[in-house]
């Protein structure tokens, strides 16, 4: 068995990896993943660049592109979460009062308002920008306030310090439950995009056989995950045969309560395929907004050959 150090966040978004480990999908291909838990996304990228982990699974942020721009090679190899219509993940939540007064009823009404989110240059930031552009607005038309942590962001809405916030599940639901927030829209419904991916470090990618074997396990886990928790009918999730098992595995790894986990799993491609064009678009956007100095040619950062080889190899 070959060991692979995998850096993950201890969150629901890492569920496919947890499933792969727990169900022995990696093991089946002679891979023994060693999970290394992180409490923030940035150190995962750093650890990957430093060679301390071989595989990383986290959000696709400006940070990652900048790491590559500064000469540390790493590869985006597979999907690990998308914003997808019908799958509530990141929500735009407005103050209940403003909603009730009719002041904000659509994305367009956000013009001139104050919107809180965690960090500038985060996936949320990118996403917000794109949603606004779709609605004919620009980021400059409103005021984005970075608040670093989720609780701070939610608290700022509650304290009426901001008019709206952009936060992932389960926070949108909670703000409604507590009565101070109203979900304006789910980001995925407005705009689908690649939110998180699996990365390979330079050395790991070079060890082609091992890298493909790892991917085989991952593809198998993805399918299992997808069939269990993501299949929808008429806009509602139909729990698959292994729904409860996946919930339970996720609960075991994240320590979160099942009822919170059940609020929603992030969407991801059944085979772990990437939305490659979206990645290019993201880079363009980061460059436009000054978060990156220049774009990276896709072939220098995205390598879909692993996932394709794995899909070929792993039978249904």
């Amino acid at each position: 068995e070959r060991k692979v150090k995998v850096g993950v966040l201890k969150l629901t978004s890492s569920a496919p990896i947890f499933v792969g480990v727990e169900k022995g999908f990696f093991k089946a291909f002679g891979i023994a993943p060693e999970l290394v838990f992180f409490q923030a996304a940035a150190p995962i990228a750093t650890a990957l660049a430093a060679g301390q982990i071989e595989v990383g699974a986290t959000g696709l942020t400006a940070a990652l592109y900048n790491i590559v721009l500064q000469g540390e090679k790493l590869w985006i190899v597979a999907d690990k979460g998308r914003e997808w219509p019908g799958y509530p993940l990141v929500g735009i939540v407005v103050q209940r009062e403003l909603w009730d007064k009719g002041e904000i009823r659509s994305v367009k009404d956000l013009r001139g308002k104050r919107i809180g989110l965690t960090t500038l240059g985060s996936t949320f930031h990118f996403h917000l920008g794109n949603i606004l552009e779709k609605e004919g607005l620009k980021l400059a038309d409103l005021k984005v306030i970075p608040l670093q942590a989720m609780p701070s962001t939610v608290e700022a809405l509650k304290g009426k310090q901001v008019d709206a916030i952009m936060v992932p599940q389960p926070f949108p639901g909670r703000t409604e439950a507590e009565g101070f927030g109203k979900i304006l829209a789910w980001a995925g419904d407005l705009y689908a995009w690649q939110i998180a991916t699996v990365f390979y470090g330079k050395g790991f990618a070079a060890d082609r056989e091992k890298a493909v074997d790892f991917m085989k396990g991952y593809v198998k886990a993805s399918r299992y995950y997808h069939d269990a928790v993501l299949v929808q009918k008429d806009g509602r999730v139909v729990p698959g045969r292994n729904y409860d098992e996946v919930v339970q595995i996720t609960a075991k790894y994240t320590g979160a309560r099942p009822e919170i986990i059940k609020i929603g799993f992030p969407y991801q491609d059944r085979n772990g395929r990437l939305l490659v064009p979206d990645i290019e678009k993201q880079m363009t956007w980061w460059v436009e907004h000054g978060f990156m100095k220049r774009a990276i040619p896709l072939k220098e950062i995205v390598d879909t050959s692993f996932v394709e080889a794995a899909i070929q190899a792993v039978k249904e």
Binding site: L9, F38, Q39, A47, I53, I260
Partner: protein
């Protein structure tokens, strides 16, 4: 004989120190009651400041499941090691810098320059050099403990009575003897202040230390509970930190009394 007969009273009584152990305990109970009250009257939302009663409930569960002790165990190791390393380095370097002008001129600017560097900005370098296991976690704590220790030890040595140093020299004490037998005891009160600060700082930095590659630990608990919005668990973590803070303060105060007997009799 005109005028009154006035008894002389000890006017230095206000300088006296009493122990007031019950007051100490009452103070902490008051703090908890205040918190409960704040939570009850709804001044603070349940979500962000759960009432002590519910925190206690959660804590009991975590104790029953053994989770809390496991976390405590892994954190205590990091804390202990980081504290010991940081404190030792701080005392040694602080005292060296206090006694030798050359060391002072070389090291002090470096200390002043590196002290303000935020630990989170150091994480990448720590990961690069020390990996993602225990070493970087211990290093974060040690670094945090180092600065208050070094600056306080330095100040302690600098403020030692020069007459006593000269007395020691007159009896043949060399540099090393003076350091051990004059500077060190003179600096002890400040060193203990530094240790108290260091202990608090170590606990404070546990969260930063357990940001990378931790699967257990109180800092991990706090971070993770915050990520998954389990505020009650978060508060359990904070309460544990607070208790450790009180405990370490108490232990250090006791130790101080043992180490400085000549001031406490």
């Amino acid at each position: 004989m005109s005028g009154a007969r006035v008894p002389v009273e000890d006017r230095t009584r206000f300088l006296e120190r009493r122990e007031l152990k019950t007051t100490r305990v009452l103070s902490l109970i008051g703090l908890v009651l205040l918190w409960e009250l704040l939570a009850r009257i709804g001044w603070v939302p349940r979500l962000f400041l759960p009432a002590p009663s519910s925190v206690a409930g959660e804590a009991v569960e975590m104790v029953a499941s053994g989770e809390l002790f496991r976390y405590l165990g892994s954190s205590l190791l990091r804390l202990g090691l980081g504290f010991a390393l940081g404190a030792l380095a701080g005392i040694v370097i602080g005292m060296a810098v206090g006694i030798a002008s050359l060391a002072e001129a070389v090291v002090m600017p470096v200390i002043a320059a590196t002290f303000p560097i935020p630990k989170i900005a150091l994480l990448p370098l720590l990961i690069l050099w020390l990996g993602i296991g225990e070493p970087p976690k211990v290093a974060v704590i040690a670094l945090g403990v180092f600065f208050p220790m070094a600056i306080n030890s330095f100040t302690g040595v600098r403020n030692a009575d020069p007459l006593l140093a000269r007395a020691a020299v007159s009896f043949g004490a060399g540099r090393w003897s003076v350091i051990r037998k004059v500077m060190l005891p003179s600096a002890l009160p400040m060193i203990f202040a530094g240790l108290k600060l260091g202990a608090g700082t170590a606990l404070l930095l546990l969260v930063a230390a357990e940001m990378i590659g931790a699967e257990s630990g109180i800092g991990f608990l706090i971070l993770h509970a915050q990520n998954i919005m389990e505020t009650t668990k978060l508060m359990v973590g904070i309460v544990v930190l607070s208790l450790l803070g009180i405990l370490s303060h108490w232990v250090l105060t006791r130790l101080e009394r043992l180490a400085i007997p000549w001031k406490h009799n």
